[in-house]
Symmetry: C2
Subunit: 127 residues, 2 copies
């Protein structure tokens, strides 16, 4: 499999696939005689794993840990759960932040008349 086939199979841009090997997140793929990267199904599975992990917002470093655990038959689910719980808490914190920002901005937008005149509660609040 050349890189574009692997990228399609993994659902990641070609550039990103190369990037993940550059930073050592996945091991360097083997090369054809002419230097083309060649991928097998196992590599694609790892790329998919990373894509899904990234979708949850895990950092590259966390993806590295998760990938290690994925490939470790002696892993404990406790370790996986620890990493996931940490991310879950971050998501909850982010949700709280977002909600408070949202509610405040929504209130301002609602009270702004949005007409041709200059007076505006949004500007007043910011200034």
């Amino acid at each position: 499999m050349n890189i574009s086939a692997a990228s399609k199979a993994a659902g990641l841009p070609v550039k990103t696939v190369r990037y993940y090997a550059d930073i050592g997140l996945v091991s360097a793929p083997s090369r054809s005689d002419t230097g083309y990267r060649t991928y097998d199904d196992a590599s694609v599975r790892k790329l998919i794993f990373i894509r899904r992990s990234r979708a949850f917002g895990f950092t590259i470093e966390e993806c590295r840990e998760l990938l290690d655990l994925y490939q470790d038959q002696d892993r404990t689910s406790a370790e996986v759960k620890r990493i996931a719980s940490k991310r879950l808490e971050e998501l909850e914190e982010k949700q709280r932040e977002l909600k408070s920002l949202h509610d405040e901005l929504a209130h301002l937008v609602k009270t702004c008349r949005g007409d041709h005149r200059p007076d505006c509660p949004i500007i007043d609040y910011l200034g």
Copy 2:
């Protein structure tokens, strides 16, 4: 006012205050004989305005527009409202994304035993 006094008054790091002038978000401050930046109350008010705008997640470019409107006596509140509404929609979109990620991850974390054994629904889901 030297830069550190202005930074304290505005609630922004010194580096950030310099940065905002570097990128032309605020105008370059006047300088003392020895080259120290000097700030007045009006500059500080603009910095505070930017800090609050940034807190809502407005990009630097949006802050630029908002600041222009702030300083424009002939602005229309419609223009302000348009920018704020756009941000509000983004916040709502982000909230939806976060909620769906959260719910999915929360479910996985809940169903993971988190013990010494390797089997784990989180890893299963990612892989």
